[in-house]
């Protein structure tokens, strides 16, 4: 019988298989950041163990890093101590680290792909649930806890039980103005926050094949929000073109050998998935969340649902709690929801295509009075590219704040947070209670919806902007 993509990559990494035991899986790439690694390095130190494969390990600083005044000492002493701990650990054990101020610094899931380290057919882990992002390249990539971080540092392997596989086939074509973010939010709303639990998702079908690499990363990034540890997309010419020429891409004959192998990484025609889901892309519209988990979403044209309409008691209770927390009433039009803050960034939507999309909408327009718009590039490289294209000037002219790279307001570990009761339209991945700051209220949206919302001050899509923008500020572009 044929094998799925996930099974092929899995089988290729089994170091040891024994009856009644989990498989021992080899890990090709281990990404580290400051939050989930300190206790793992402590464990190594106590046991007197070295890092087994420094050449398969890389660290960046992202969760705690400020997005203003990065040349000054970090104001929060606890954040500063955590970053200093990572620096000390990396120096002591010999791990390559990209610190704040380094040109390769940025959100760990933006940095891996842009360096060319994320490649098809590899296993990628990180102490971060959004490691699923790297599955966009046909890698088997999943988030792990700190005990597993220590395990990989010490052994470059993980004992794991093989996952089940789920095909998510997206037929048709995404309508104009509908993005990868809308698609993944619609998928999560359909299968639920636990729908992917125990599975590796494989996104496939014509609508997926048409997506750019960055859009594919947005999709795979949020697999965890559907409960799946990993999401994958079979590599193709789009993937190979993205990787070719990057710092760590194979070169010369090695490139040819790699591509020949990568071309075998697709699900066989006679392979059987454990579950299958179908989505028609042509029926989708811009999608936003109204609740406090990423499955509580609806098309922008819809209304806040009535909790009484849920048959399941715990879902009804969850919806009631969500509306109470979000300060919304059943039946309210989603378009009428006013926001205080718009956040464009994160490992979900902090790459150059996301910034271009947002810039194209605010160009020649103004951010609405009373609205704060933060633009946080996913990495220093993304920021430099945006500056080269003049996007920073577009944002600043519109009244947005152009910031330095990092995770920023996605989870509010740095000073970029919502105040209690403040409401955001955010291109990030989680609308959990307090996620962006204590008492903060989050609506997950695409970069396009975020930008249109910044202009009108209430949840909007670009199609809602009827005014003509002023002349562009990017003369010559």
């Amino acid at each position: 019988m044929g094998r799925t993509l996930a099974e092929k990559v899995w089988d290729d990494h089994v170091v040891r298989r024994a009856e009644g035991e989990p498989d021992l899986l080899f890990i090709d790439l281990h990404l580290l950041h400051e939050v989930t690694s300190p206790q793992a390095f402590d464990g190594l130190r106590q046991a007197g163990r070295p890092v087994r494969r420094l050449d398969l390990t890389i660290a960046t600083e992202d969760h705690n890093t400020p997005t203003l005044d990065i040349d000054k000492p970090i104001a929060d002493p606890v954040s500063r101590a955590q970053l200093e701990t990572l620096r000390k650990n990396c120096a002591e054990f010999g791990v390559r680290l990209h610190s704040l101020g380094d040109v390769e610094q940025g959100v760990v899931h933006v940095v891996g792909p842009q360096l060319g380290l994320t490649q098809p057919g590899t296993t990628v882990v990180c102490g971060d649930s959004h490691t699923s992002t790297h599955g966009a390249f046909g890698a088997l990539a999943f988030g792990i806890g700190t005990s597993q971080v220590e395990h990989v540092l010490a052994t470059q392997t993980l004992p794991m039980a093989p996952p089940k596989t789920m095909a998510i086939t997206v037929d048709g074509e995404l309508p104009d103005g509908v993005t990868a973010k809308d698609l993944i939010l619609a998928i999560i709303a359909k299968i639920g926050t636990g729908g992917g639990q125990g599975y590796v998702l494989e996104y496939r079908g014509p609508a997926i094949e048409k997506l750019s690499m960055e859009a594919r990363m947005t999709i795979c990034n949020m697999s965890i929000e559907a409960g799946a540890r990993a999401g994958m997309i079979a590599p193709d010419a789009t993937t190979f073109d993205y990787i070719e020429g990057r710092d760590h891409a194979p070169k010369g004959e090695e490139w040819d050998a790699a591509v020949a192998y990568w071309k075998t990484l697709k699900t066989d025609e006679d392979a059987v998935f454990d579950a299958e889901v179908y989505i028609d892309a042509s029926e989708l519209a811009p999608f936003v969340t109204w609740g406090t988990n990423p499955g509580q979403g609806a098309p922008l044209s819809a209304h806040v649902p009535d909790p009484a309409s849920y048959e399941d008691a715990s879902e009804r209770f969850a919806a009631e709690k969500a509306l109470e927390y979000m300060g919304l009433t059943a039946g309210q039009a989603l378009r009428d929801i006013k926001v205080d803050t718009v956040f464009v960034g994160s490992c979900t939507n902090g790459r150059i295509e996301d910034l271009r999309a947002a810039a194209s909408i605010v160009e020649g327009r103004k951010v609405a009075d009373g609205v704060r718009m933060l633009i946080v590039p996913g990495s220093v490289r993304v920021a430099l590219q945006a500056i080269e294209e003049g996007l920073d000037k577009v944002f600043v002219a519109a009244g947005a704040e152009w910031r330095h790279a990092g995770c920023s307001m996605c989870l509010g570990m740095n000073p970029d947070q919502l105040a209690p009761g403040e409401r955001s339209a955010s291109t990030s991945n989680r609308n959990f209670e307090g996620r962006q700051g204590k008492g903060g209220r989050t609506h997950l949206v695409s970069p396009q919806v975020a930008a249109a919302t910044a202009v009108t001050g209430h949840l909007s899509s670009p199609a809602d902007l009827t005014d003509a923008p002023d002349a562009p500020v990017t003369a010559g572009v």
Binding site: D28, D42, T157, G194, H248, E254, A258, M413
Partner: protein, 197 residues
């Protein structure tokens, strides 16, 4: 890791679904670089409400958390497990756990037990009616027992064996050093490397 064989204790019924790890331990607690001292951060936002079940005096000293479905979704932060343990919980019961949280819990000796929602409902009713009611979580016999309730649960034999014996995963894996070295010697030469060594 601390070994887990059997545990009997009073319960906290948490009638909520989709309890994400941001609720279990908010992000600002993640700046700590130790595995302890997270007890005050456990459910920090909800504990500000005096009516929250954890704040009730009769729940003080309870060690078994009985939660709604999809417990531990979201972030991979192992701090969520440490916070539950630091607070004093020994076991968590739910009809469904998020994968990463489940893996983290079993690696730290916090036993996560999957039971049918009907059994969870019965445990909620029992422990809400009688806060002194005790629940026994028996890993030896893979069974949960409480007044009028007996329910078997599944846990794969390998995970059970590690928990019963409190075994450290890394030492077990390192016994397979020759297999790891052999795999490494056959890896494809074009696989990426972060540094030349």
């Amino acid at each position: 890791m601390e070994a887990f064989t059997t545990h009997t204790g009073r319960a906290v019924p948490l009638r909520r679904s989709n309890v994400d790890t941001d609720q279990i331990i908010p992000a600002h607690w993640l700046k700590k670089v130790t595995r302890d001292g997270f007890e005050d951060g456990l459910f920090e936002a909800w504990r500000k409400d005096g009516e929250f079940v954890l704040n009730k005096p009769e729940r003080r000293g309870a060690t078994v958390l009985v939660a709604g479905p999809d417990f531990g979704t979201g972030s991979s932060r192992e701090h969520a497990v440490w916070a539950l343990q630091n607070y004093g919980f020994k076991a968590v019961i739910s009809s469904r756990f998020a994968d990463i949280f489940r893996g983290n819990s079993l690696k730290n000796g916090l036993l996560t037990v999957v039971l049918d929602q009907q059994v969870v409902d019965a445990l909620w009713e029992l422990t809400e009616r009688d806060p002194q009611a005790e629940i026994t979580v028996d890993l030896q016999d893979r069974q949960v027992r409480a007044e009028g309730i007996t329910a078997d649960f599944e846990l794969d034999e390998n995970a059970r064996w590690r928990l019963l014996n409190g075994l450290d995963d890394i030492s077990i894996t390192l016994q397979n050093e020759p297999a790891i070295a052999e795999y490494e010697s056959k890896r494809r030469s074009y696989k990426p490397r972060t540094v030349q060594v």
